[in-house]
């Protein structure tokens, strides 16, 4: 992985530099690649703006949870930290704090403080959305992104030519989280079903369509053979997903587009959007290219 930028001029996903090439241990080098700080600055905008959208829409159930304290089932870390059930007022204050700190963090104001405050307040919000029975796994990469981003330190939009291994580690961790969301869900299918062919040849999509399918997608209930083929395909790309971590250039763009289409399909058919994971796919892209050249700091 630690090759210098190739001479073809093709897109590099994690900009390889001479310094990166000199990293002695290839494993350490892979986990801490030198990447542009501007990439982090832009990725932070994606993440923190999405956090605001998330708490107002996808995970907006925290305020109603204030009315149902008896149904609180705290997760391990919430039990360890003795976090009590949320009240309606507490949830409203938390919501306001998340929005304010996320706006500051997205704009790059008081970067470390605002980043850590989002990590704390959004983490608490997650305990309150996931701590009432159902735990959704589409938030894994987003929560990890919010925790690792403040470790990068200061990153400005104009830092296009400034590279950082701290930034490289943070985005690498987000990439790994995204990929393991798919890979471990395939592993879990194996564990939970005992025999993976039972899952792939079974009626999971039928079950999902019957419970929450859109009207148009219920047509597919007449075609169980097609749905079984879909289950095998899902299993195949989930198991193969780790190779995306090693893709570059067109292959990487192709993989990102493929996963976007997959999520679009599941959204249209089942209303499952997986947006918190989808947004984290941005960690794979050379986002610093979005910065106009005239805005980049002079070298």
């Amino acid at each position: 992985m630690n090759r210098p930028a190739n001479s073809t001029g093709k897109t590099q996903t994690l900009t390889a530099t001479p310094a990166e090439a000199r990293v002695g241990n290839p494993i350490i080098g892979w986990f801490t690649p030198q990447i542009s700080l501007a990439r982090v600055a832009i990725f932070r905008v994606f993440v923190y703006i999405f956090v605001i959208i998330d708490v107002l829409t996808i995970s907006a159930d925290v305020i109603p949870h204030g009315w149902t304290p008896d149904l609180y089932q705290p997760l391990w870390l919430a039990r360890f930290l003795h976090i009590p059930p949320v009240s309606v007022l507490g949830a409203q204050i938390l919501l306001a704090a998340i929005i304010v700190f996320s706006l500051l963090a997205a704009a790059g104001i008081l970067q470390r403080i605002s980043g850590w405050m989002v990590a704390i307040t959004f983490g608490l919000w997650m305990f309150y959305t996931q701590g009432y029975g159902y735990v959704a796994h589409d938030h894994m990469a987003l929560v990890i992104a919010v925790v690792v981003l403040p470790t990068v330190g200061v990153a400005r939009f104009r830092d296009v030519g400034t590279t950082s291994a701290k930034a490289g580690w943070a985005l690498r961790v987000v990439q790994i989280s995204v990929i393991l969301t798919y890979f471990y869900s395939a592993v879990m299918k194996w564990i939970a079903s005992g025999n993976i062919t039972h899952w792939a040849n079974g009626a999971v999509i039928v079950w999902a369509l019957m419970r929450r399918g859109a009207e148009w997608s219920k047509l597919f209930l007449e075609m169980p053979g097609l749905l079984i083929a879909g289950q095998w395909a899902t299993l195949a790309f989930e198991f193969l997903s780790p190779i995306v971590l090693f893709f570059k250039g067109r292959w990487l763009y192709g993989a990102v587009i493929f996963f976007m289409i997959f999520h679009l399909m599941t959204y249209l058919a089942l209303g499952i959007h997986f947006l918190p994971t989808v947004i984290c796919w941005a960690a794979f892209l050379p986002l610093e290219k979005l910065i106009p050249k005239r805005c980049a700091a002079s070298q």
Partner: protein, 175 residues
Amino acid sequence: MDEKKPRLLTKKKPASESDDDSETVTKPKPMTKWSIVWRLGATAVALVILTCGQFLNTNDFFPLGSLTQYATAKDLNGEVNSTCIEAQFPGEDEPRRLGFNTGTVGIERGDIESQLDRVISHPELLQTLADSYERLHPDEPKPESMILCRTVTQLENGQSVGEPEHKILATWEVQ
């Protein structure tokens, strides 16, 4: 870039992380050994917890819990269960099906399904759904009882047969 480094290192001492200073800096100082060690250590610990979460099949370690959604195999000749919530209102002959979501009863269907055994053995927990319904619908009559139910659809070769069966899982007289 590399020629600049020695000059910068002599200028900036100690090389602090307050990186919002010089515009001439194009490459921050290399990470310290400790900086690399804790990052790789934290990554390794998180991966171990996440992996254990899968094999222990627990969501308890959120955000590093098991990725169980849609992981259970479903029999092509089995049943499709869907949990529902109904309320009996005064003056109405039949219980009325309510939306099983935060906007209607303060909680999502998935949350109750994830603690279904607990709710069935403690039907008094349905009181909190009734309370939420009242708060969210102040102009509507108060329910007399809450009914936790399930619709069961039989499959044959992956296709549904017959009408869904309706089962009552728990009832609670609203206080």
